[in-house]
Amino acid sequence: MRLNESIVISAPPTLVWDYLAEPSNYLHFMSGITRWEVAGEQRTGLGARYRMLIRVGSAEVGGLIEIVEWDERRDMAWSSVLGVDQRGRWRLRELDDGRTRVELRFAYGVAGSGIPGWIAELVSAPPLGGHLRRSLRQLKRQVEHERMRADAAQRRAERNLA
């Protein structure tokens, strides 16, 4: 099953990317996430691994994931190493007015699970889609809030200089 959600954030891609690249932020803006921990020495970047879990129905589902694509300020993709099969992607694209279109793609399933697996994917799609939509809304709120704080700090600094 593949899910796809997107949102436009009033901030440049750099700001969005910085927020997404920091693993400690995921517990704050990702809906349904009950665990997002760095696994191993590498904290961020290509090859970084995280242990993540998301509540879907009666279980917390997830596993160990690894960042497999890292194109700064544009694309970040991950794939599962252990647990439920999953692939995900953050896709950031700058709009003409300086804002950023953020797309979250998420594909999941359990290879070899047959018809029950297919039914489970269909049943779990609506709640998971809801999690993705809420996550994007919370990301937008957090990043735009960060931008307002950054702008305010800059204005203060300019006033002090003047």
Partner: protein, 261 residues
């Protein structure tokens, strides 16, 4: 003489030898002997089939009660997780919280109360929660009653890591560094009357404490709520079980009166 010659010819036609009156008698008996042999073969074949069936059944029961930890099949568990998830999410609508209290690695004894009659939702739900939380790679075993493992679903449960309940099997699982789920209340607790549905009743069984002390592993209590509402029992039927001596022959301490599928 003529009769003798006739009999001799008949004996030859039958493939026997002629030897006078004795030979004729032998030839006549030979036919019966053939029938008897054929009958004996049928009986032996029947005995053999019955023996094979009984032997196969006994071997199956023996095997189901043997704790072969290698029967746990992570690939099978992984592939059947979606079905378990569907059952627990859509049918039982259960939820497991605070899995983070279970140690991340190493042997651990999970001691739980048991509810829901023969179709226990708590086992299904907790097993799913454990495997989705820690991954199917982590060794996890569950102790179950002999009759559960000898039932038709026993084969599936063995692949999920279920072994027959005994101190030896439990010790072996913990020695292997696995997480082990035990239900001290067992058949007694799972068949408790509906008015005791909110009660934890281990029937004074405390063997799990000795097990944890001997193995030097932590105990993590697991409490399930609501499982007994999927069944309706009016009595354990403990006296009936003792009267019928199934407590000794089948290790069954209850013959529950009610409906618990």
């Amino acid at each position: 003489m003529a009769d003798q010659e006739g009999l001799a010819e008949q004996a030859k036609r039958n493939g026997g030898e002629s030897g006078g009156e004795d030979g004729a008698l032998r030839d006549r008996l030979a036919a019966f002997d053939g029938i008897a042999r054929a009958g004996g073969s049928v009986v032996r074949a029947g005995q053999s089939a019955a023996g094979e069936f009984a032997g196969g059944l006994a071997a199956r029961i023996r095997r189901s009660l043997t704790a072969d930890l290698d029967d746990r099949d992570p690939d099978y568990i992984r592939e059947s997780l979606p079905l378990t998830w569907l059952l627990t999410t859509l049918w039982f609508r259960g939820e497991v919280r605070n899995m983070g209290n279970v140690p991340e690695q190493g042997p651990v004894l999970l001691v739980a109360n048991h509810s829901g009659g023969n179709m226990t939702p708590d086992t299904l739900l907790f097993t799913l929660a454990f495997y989705t939380y820690f991954g199917v790679e982590r060794a996890f075993y569950q102790l179950a009653h002999n009759l559960v493992l000898a039932s038709p679903v026993g084969q599936i449960l063995r692949r999920y890591g279920t072994v027959a309940a005994s101190p030896e099997h439990a010790q072996r699982a913990l020695d292997a560094g696995a997480a082990l789920l035990v239900y001290p209340g067992g058949d007694w607790e799972v068949h408790r009357p509906i008015w005791e549905r909110h009660k934890v009743d281990f029937a004074n069984r405390q063997g799990f404490v000795r097990l944890a002390l001997d193995a030097g592993v932590p105990i993590v209590p697991v409490v399930s709520i609501g499982g007994q509402e999927t069944a309706l029992f009016l009595s354990h039927g403990g006296r009936l079980a003792r009267a019928l001596r199934v407590d000794r022959t089948l290790r069954l301490n209850v013959i529950p009166i009610g409906d618990g599928k």
